[in-house]
Symmetry: C2
């Protein structure tokens, strides 16, 4: 079996160069993706169709040349299968028609294995991808963090202010904890099943980490993410876990837990992340995605990151998802520059 350079890098092993992938690499900047998405009719159909989801997952491997594929799916398939009615309204993003407001709403949600088992289209997608993915490339599976999922389940949609969930946080924290605990149980089983289906690496996205004030973050988000890590590591000690809490640069020294890689967002200087976390965890990141608008600025940034990180205990990535209007040639340039500049 061929060595997967990406998995080796996650585990802190020496690799011939620093591997690279991009958040949202299977996405709208690729005309090939837009074509499949148009065929699917809408975004959710695409998530539900293993053949098409497999196809878009694999597109950036050949086109852009990244070292790992990331499962094409959406973080909100979990609450959807827990019985909340997910839809994507054009131009407005995801919507749940019946947001959670009380204990009875939580009790009505489908939990545990019953919910996780409904996500068969995800596991089928993983199996298809693994049949086609080159042996030396890795497949990343993922989940949203309980807090990030809860924000949508409580607000009913994306939010700028998070005022409904934060009202709950400060005036009825027990209710929020009850939601988080129920979601956490589903995530544990969902990620087990993703691993069983064939993913090589787990990434947990806490996209809305920055919505919680620093002194409350552990209580309402991080400890649940760590609980998921502990659960998975007990059963699958060799499957690397990447944690990506976006926007917690002021308390990196409080980060703890049994995982392998810490994803650094673009607003957190790599020097700071290395100083606070570089000994404990492999670091992933963190080029500002808008640098991709200029090939010159991309090279400059890759070079700067490389100077900070050296040639080990690092995975190149963007510090947030690639934007739809980035020229494909510039994405290719980023990936090849990462591989060239870090070559030993």
């Amino acid at each position: 079996m061929a060595n997967k350079i990406f998995v080796d890098a996650c585990l802190g092993k020496e690799t011939p160069y620093t591997p690279v992938w991009m958040m949202r690499q299977a996405g709208r900047y690729l005309p090939e993706y837009m074509k499949v998405r148009a065929e699917a009719g809408n975004f959710l159909n695409l998530c539900h169709d293993p053949k098409k989801a497999c196809e878009v997952t694999l597109q950036p491997m050949d086109i852009v040349g990244v070292d790992a594929a990331i499962l094409f799916s959406d973080i909100l398939v979990i609450p959807d299968e827990m019985g909340m009615d997910l839809s994507f309204v054009k131009g407005e993003g995801p919507k749940f028609s019946d947001p959670i407001t009380c204990e009875a709403d939580i009790d009505r949600l489908i939990g545990g294995d019953e919910a996780a088992s409904k996500l068969t289209y995800v596991f089928d997608t993983i199996k298809l991808i693994k049949q086609e993915l080159a042996e030396d490339k890795a497949l990343i599976g993922f989940t949203g963090a309980p807090w990030t999922l809860a924000t949508y389940m409580i607000e009913g949609q994306g939010t700028k202010t998070y005022n409904i969930c934060k009202k709950m946080m400060y005036s009825n924290p027990a209710l929020l904890h009850k939601i988080l605990a129920k979601v956490t149980e589903v995530i544990k089983l969902y990620m087990e099943k993703q691993i069983d289906a064939g993913i090589d690496v787990v990434q947990i996205f806490d996209s809305w980490a920055a919505a919680i004030e620093p002194s409350m973050y552990d209580e309402f988000s991080w400890k649940y993410m760590v609980e998921i890590c502990d659960h998975l590591k007990a059963k699958y000690p060799n499957t690397p876990i990447i944690m990506f809490p976006k926007g917690i640069p002021t308390f990196l020294d409080k980060v703890y837990g049994n995982f392998d890689v810490f994803g650094v967002d673009w607003a957190t200087p790599m020097e700071l992340a290395k100083e606070k976390l570089g000994e404990k965890y492999v670091l992933q990141g963190n080029m500002e995605p808008c640098r991709l608008y200029s090939q010159e600025e991309t090279t400059k940034s890759v070079d700067d990151i490389q100077k900070v990180m050296g040639t080990s205990r690092h995975i190149f990535n963007l510090g947030h998802g690639i934007l739809p209007d980035v020229p494909v040639a510039n994405a290719i340039h980023f990936v090849s520059e990462c591989q060239r500049i870090s070559k030993k």
Copy 2:
């Protein structure tokens, strides 16, 4: 003339207690504000009507008991008077019909004193407020930072990704600098005229500071803000200046400039701000605005902040604007707790 405790606190002088105000204190959580706004027809009419703008500016003084008033206006009146056509679309926020895309667009903008002189309704509002404001209360005038204003002028509206301005930043930085320089000149004169009309303190809001990656922040935002400070301090050395760049916690040690108060957002721990900046600047902030949903959580937070800051070189505030659905009683509770807990 009575001493203004708020001005004293800005200058680092001893005060009988730590003064307090709230960002967006003249706002939608107050039924009295909603009434005047309804009479005005829309938000922009309210900004243009000195009598009504004066009325809403003064409302929180009596109702909530804050130690300073902040001029009711909008940061976007500047680009509006520079010749861009500002409108507020219900539910969507501010819009400019012709965003800036090239040098000719910038050349067409009205600049310098000609633009600043058109903001007479703001100066008239200030004069009215000063006639009615108690002598021991201060009036804060304000402006958006050049970068924050430029984001709207380039994107044509609010944005989640800032991709149009950041494309300009990375692929045509000279064009962005040309916009920033032109806006900076208008702001200097606008703030001079606000001071001449009677404001006691200046606050510069860089609401979208966090949109710029740390290594680029000085070049595209902070240095222009400092240029404004230098200009104002040369003419008005006794007028305190508050800088509020939201979301730059990772490089507080690089903050410099001739101003008096640094506004701390809620995501930046007060301990960190005190350690990095507390000797050089008075600090303002930084309760998480959603704590206002619970009186108990409010008291806890005020107490925590007070323990870090002690009884000098501090001004109480929220770490961001008060939200529309906060009960007025809770805002009153916040203000009185700040004044009670910090009393000497």
